[in-house]
Symmetry: C2
């Protein structure tokens, strides 16, 4: 805020044009300018410009009870998946005159609750939740009547409008791709069980394995503790020990796939020669890894912009009743981490 308390107010503009501040307010606000004489509007606008008047959004917020701020909750902004999404959010909200507060939960459910409460305390007009917890721990109650949309979360016990991607389709693309190039022993490094995305992909995996005519075995799935490289590596270790015959692995996201890469490197298992790997998300730079990662690309930026449009629409039509769910479609990005299996089974 300006140190020197020289900030120009409506009153100053009013004084200059010899009118009341109310009129100035009306003239300067596009919503109400039509109530004012056209010439007066012009006069006032000019005067405002000449004084470099900038309306004080804080005063406006206090009066209107609209902060024009949206809270954005992500696990960690450093995860490139979320920085893409956040750019989509920022650009869309900006264009609508809204700003956003971005907070990081670091995967901590308690922190998430605290942060949501802190955003409420800051009087955000709405919330975009990009955390993917399955258990909502009374989220509905924490939110109260605060408009919110969720990304990647299709929680059973909470009723939020959402923007998600078609997990079934994405998983089908991955499994079908691997099967079509000859793989019969396909495993899955699943996301955490507390994550709805992780669960959905794991369920879809089982379904798709059967759909292509392969036999599904429980032992072909290993769940990771988090959506991270480290967790991916840890789970990969277990999976590879248990199922040495697998020729391909579908990792529930790119970071988990990179964890698998690390474990493969340690075991001197060559990808894709000895093992094919498919990731999920297509985060930046995975096209430059060694080998470049075949993955399921999701429209990250669009997820952010769609979520923003959704929350904005909820702010105008205050009808919370209509529960929109937007589902975007992922696509397969074939690179060099997948190839035909070395030895075809039963040949």
């Amino acid at each position: 805020m300006n140190n020197e308390d020289k900030s120009v107010t409506l009153k100053d503009v009013a004084k200059l044009v010899g009118m009341h501040q109310t009129t100035v307010s009306r003239a300067l606000n596009p919503q109400t300018a039509h109530l004012v004489n056209e010439d007066t509007v012009k006069l006032i606008r000019d005067a405002a410009k000449s004084l470099n008047f900038e309306p004080n959004p804080i005063a406006s917020s206090l009066r209107t009870k609209k902060s024009m701020n949206i809270g954005v909750v992500v696990p960690d902004l450093r995860n490139p998946l979320f920085t893409e999404i956040v750019r989509g959010v920022q650009d869309t909200l900006d264009a609508a005159g809204y700003s956003c507060f971005i907070v990081n939960t670091d995967g901590d459910i308690n922190k998430e609750v605290k942060l949501i409460n802190s955003l409420k305390a800051r009087r955000v007009d709405g919330l975009i939740l990009a955390t993917a917890r399955q258990q909502s721990h009374g989220l509905d109650q924490i939110l109260g009547d605060l408009p919110a949309v969720s990304i990647n979360r299709t929680s059973p016990n909470t009723h939020l409008p959402s923007v998600t991607t078609d997990e079934d389709h994405g998983t089908k693309l991955a499994v079908t791709h691997l099967y079509s190039i000859g793989h019969k022993e396909i495993a899955h490094l699943a996301g955490p069980t507390w994550s709805s995305t992780g669960l959905e992909r794991a369920n879809a995996f089982q379904r798709e394995i059967k759909a292509v005519g392969l036999e599904f075995e429980e032992s072909s799935v290993e769940y990771c503790e988090a959506w991270t490289i480290e967790a991916g590596k840890k789970a990969a270790k277990i999976l590879l020990d248990r199922s040495p015959d697998v020729t391909a692995v579908f990792a529930a996201n790119d970071l988990i796939a990179l964890g698998l890469y690390d474990e493969l490197a340690e075991r001197k298992i060559k990808c894709p020669r000895d093992l094919s790997v498919v990731g999920y998300n297509d985060i930046p730079f995975v096209d430059r890894m060694d080998p470049s990662l075949t993955t399921i690309r999701i429209p990250k930026y669009e997820i952010g912009s769609e979520a923003s449009r959704l929350i904005l629409s909820m702010l105008v039509e205050k009808s919370n009743s209509f529960m929109r769910h937007i589902r975007l479609t992922p696509e397969l990005k074939i690179r060099h981490s997948t190839s035909a299996p070395k030895k075809l089974a039963h040949v």
Copy 2:
């Protein structure tokens, strides 16, 4: 903001305890609680908690003329360099009770000016500028008396407190490393000339080349148009055409190095066998590229946290007079993109 206008105010708390809102305000504010009877404070705090009272920061802002918001200007949040820095900013500001608005200039100087003005209009208390333009286009005037610190910018004609890294030292580390493993023909893919960082590294390069006893030639430096992979590739093309004898390239940042990687791939030049490459920044994932990138690591998170501490200190001691410059030290991270040159010169 709460749709239902049920938000609890100081008055409500005051009514409950049978005291005046002023007293409640004082009791609830740690700064002024000492003015209130201890028992009263306890009573009021309990009452506030029982009503779930949350002070309205907007009303507070209006009165105190402190928004408790800081503007953060970056070229693009998606650049992993800046997301690291921003996390450092967020964590530090959060702890001090501040929030931040992050805006992206996308490298557009006009957009930068617009965004800074928009942040001023939003009444931020201070600014962290992570854009690295050399020409400041009357930045001082645009800022007015708004406290600001700059990151990576050591502009000659603007006087802002700053957090930078020791470019000379970083460059020395790169050049010395290459020289020490036998390179005599070292080139530089420099950052844009409009960037102070780019200029500093280019100057330091020339100095260090001479310092190790090599002859400096103008033709060994090619400037990139931007800090991007694409610009890096374009400049690499020109450089490689012009100086086919170079055995090592010091790229002014990691993205430019990746652009060079791309050009090398097209020409079937093997790194590091045919050409060694050093990057700058050590952004995430460059340790996983093919080959993993030798680079100068800068303390990204700390840059953000130091910049935040600086701006926070400016907000308390209002003395803008003391002009602090914090300089952090980079370090060399040796990976697989550098090795001894194939054929040593004159052997």
